[in-house]
Amino acid sequence: MDLFSAQEVTKTYSNFKALSEVSISVPEGTIFGLLGPNGAGKTTLIRIINQITAPDSGTIWFQGRKMKSDDIYRIGYLPEERGLYKKMKVGEQALYLGMLKGLSRRDAMRELKIWFEKFEIISWWDKKVMELSKGMQQKVQFICTVLHKPELMIFDEPFSGFDPINSEIMKEEILRMKKEGATIIFSTHNMESVEELCDHIALIDKSKKILDGPTMNIREKYKSNIFDVSYKGEFSKIEQDFGQKYSILSHDETGRTNSLKIQFLNGSSSGSLIKDLVKHVEIVSFNELIPSMNEVFIKVVKQNS
């Protein structure tokens, strides 16, 4: 079931179209990657989900019904450009933000204690925010976003500003919350973390959605029949015979076994490639190369322009 979906959402700012009939569906209990180049309209869509702005047309669905204003208490939002009151104390501020999300003071206090103990930052409670480093502030913001146990969490570049160790901790927390049933919309330019975390993605470019689906399917779809082959034998023999049917992208004869990257041209298949190869050399390994999300992203966006 979809926890959240947007249906043909359009938003125009004076004469600039930020979103044009964009539809996305976020299945419950998954991590959904919202991707796109800068200025594509991701932030506008996220703001519409958070009811910060309203769409000109289109419908937003939440748990199978139209989204109500109350639903914002069930959403946790970590914006890309984020900050805290610099002169306010950490604990007080976290309490305030939790209460704004509908928690009672006592509940907010209890949850904050759990999180602060988990991250071992109890000693920060009475510190002013401006005394904390950027990474430390990010940690506090992360806690404030998830404090009220929202069913839908929206993280916009959640790992920026974190060192690798803290990034890993955050990643683990996100995966843990997913396991506990939370649905997560994840917006980032870091395609490695998309491959690692996202079950589904949607790609928005120039105010339109140009691609969506399960991450693996999309990578499958954009594979271009490139194979990585390790073999024993002479490269020159392959080279002589393969000129017409295949394109050899690279080859390497310095290792223990020789290797090459090969792409077959029209009308061929992996089966015939193997057949053709074994005529000349002994195959050690044979792998199809699936494009990385990074490659897919660049390819799709370039095609769209």
Binding site: Y13, S14, R47, N50, Q51, I52, T53, A54, D56, S69, D70, I72, Y73, I75, Y77, L78, P79, E81, R82, G83, L84, Y85, K86, K87, M88, Y96, L97, M99, L100, K101, G102, Q141, C144
Partner: protein
């Protein structure tokens, strides 16, 4: 959706009230004011407790033995032989100063006061008055001798007259009320000034608060929980309460200081409560003129319609603050930095400054056309109308002014809310007036 204004309001209030700068300002201001009033009086009393002797060389012999010593100042007449000696050794002598009266003082009307230090104003004044009265007496005696009118002095005295104008204002029911222009002026000025200060100080505090949220980028987190309008109103009301808290503390401290100061200042005893003065006057059976005056002031104060004034003060205070602080909030939301705020500040500040200038003329002529129009125009009415009210304003004018103010501030809060909603999420671009206009008509 349950409103979160209460939560926002209490954060705005508590973080500001707990600030050191607020506490210091709140406590220091009355202390400074008190120091301004008390210190001179206190210093005077200290100064007066020093006993001093002034040597007097009277070449004219007119004043010999006539200068009576006062509590702290003694006069010692010296013979001519000692004059030079004392003059040369004034510093080492015990005399505070040397007063030299030339034989021809009646013509020159000048005496010399020689001293090694600065002569205080009070001492100079005392000597001046004393010599003046002696010489006047002397001259009077001369005239009496010449004209042969024995009770001339009494006759001249009886011609001295002082006139006080008691202004009477006819009420609607025709009864005459004693009114006072002075009290009206003071009240009008004080109330107008308080509203002016409040608008400027706290309006700008609203603007800075909005800019702080925008600059620190917390605003997007907050408006994913509450509506921008709630955030804006929570801030405006919270800061209004900060200002009211300060005002109430100042009033309480002010009363405490005034009553405390009365005990300290001997001169202030005259300004005691009416009952005290009545009692004192009855016991001493003197100063009937003062008693009269006091009763006058009391009856004038009684003629001032305090419930109306205070009611109007609260209304115009809130109305004016809401009107201006919503404009300040809109400006704060539209800009990234303080420098950019200047271009929008000027049009807001102009009417406030105009109001305080018009107020000065409205106090002198509360019924004039200028006073009338500026007390109807909502951007100046909170200040100017407050200055007029102690003099009495026709009910229809008051009602019209209030109505216009209500309509304007509702419209302004609405418009500011629209600009604010768009402005707080706009970064990087320098906002123009045209841009602000566009934000106004954006659909939500």
């Amino acid at each position: 959706m349950k409103s979160k204004i209460g939560l926002i309001l209490s954060r705005e209030y508590t973080t500001r009230v707990r600030k050191k700068s607020f506490i210091i300002m709140t406590l220091l201001m009355p202390a400074l004011m008190a120091a301004m009033f008390i210190l001179p009086g206190y210093l005077m009393t200290r100064d007066d407790t020093k006993e001093r002797t002034i040597a007097v060389y009277d070449g004219s012999t007119i004043l010999l033995g006539q200068l009576e010593s006062s509590v702290y100042t003694k006069y010692q007449f010296i013979p001519e032989e000692e004059y030079n000696k004392i003059k040369d050794n004034l510093k080492t002598s015990n005399f505070y100063a040397l007063l030299v009266i030339q034989p021809n003082v009646l013509n020159t009307k000048t005496v010399q006061l020689i001293s090694t230090s600065n002569i205080s104003f009070d001492v100079k004044n005392e000597i001046q008055n004393k010599i003046k009265s002696v010489i006047e007496k002397e001259k009077m005696a001369e005239v009496i001798k010449h004209t042969g009118i024995p009770d001339l002095e009494a006759q001249i005295k009886s011609t001295k007259t002082s006139i006080s104008v008691n202004t009477i204002k006819l009420g609607e029911s025709g009864e005459a009320k004693k009114s006072s222009t002075e009290i009206g002026m003071i009240l009008g000025y004080v109330f107008g000034l308080i509203i002016y200060m409040f608008i400027i100080l706290y309006g700008q505090m609203v603007m800075q608060g909005v800019m702080e949220e925008k600059q620190s980028r917390i605003v997007e987190i907050i408006i994913s929980s509450v509506k921008p309008f709630e955030l804006m109103m929570g801030k405006i009301i919270g800061i209004a309460m900060v200002g009211l808290t300060q005002l109430v503390i100042w009033i309480i401290l002010g009363f405490a200081i005034i009553s405390g100061a009365r005990g300290m200042m001997p001169a202030a005893q005259h300004a005691g409560t009416a009952q005290e003065i009545v009692a004192q006057a009855q016991i001493a059976n003197q100063a009937p003129a003062q008693l009269d005056k006091m009763q006058d002031i009391l009856s004038m104060l009684g003629s001032v319609n305090f419930p109306l004034i205070i009611g109007c003060f609260i209304f115009f205070f809130i109305g004016g603050y809401l009107l201006y602080s919503s404009m300040f909030a809109a400006v704060g939301s539209a800009v990234d930095a303080m420098e950019d705020a200047q271009q929008f500040m000027l049009p807001i500040m102009l009417p406030v400054i105009l109001a305080i200038m018009v107020m000065a003329s409205a106090i002198r002529n509360p019924e004039g056309a200028v006073a009338f129009w500026f007390s109807i125009i909502p951007f100046t009415s909170p200040v100017v109308m407050m200055a007029r009210i102690p003099f009495g304003v026709p009910a229809w004018q008051l009602a019209l002014s209030m109505l216009v103010l209500i309509i304007t501030f509702i419209g302004m809060v609405w418009a500011a809310g629209k600009i604010y909603r768009t402005g707080i999420l706009m970064y990087g671009k320098k906002t123009s007036w045209k841009e602000l206009g566009k934000w106004l008509i954006y659909r939500s």
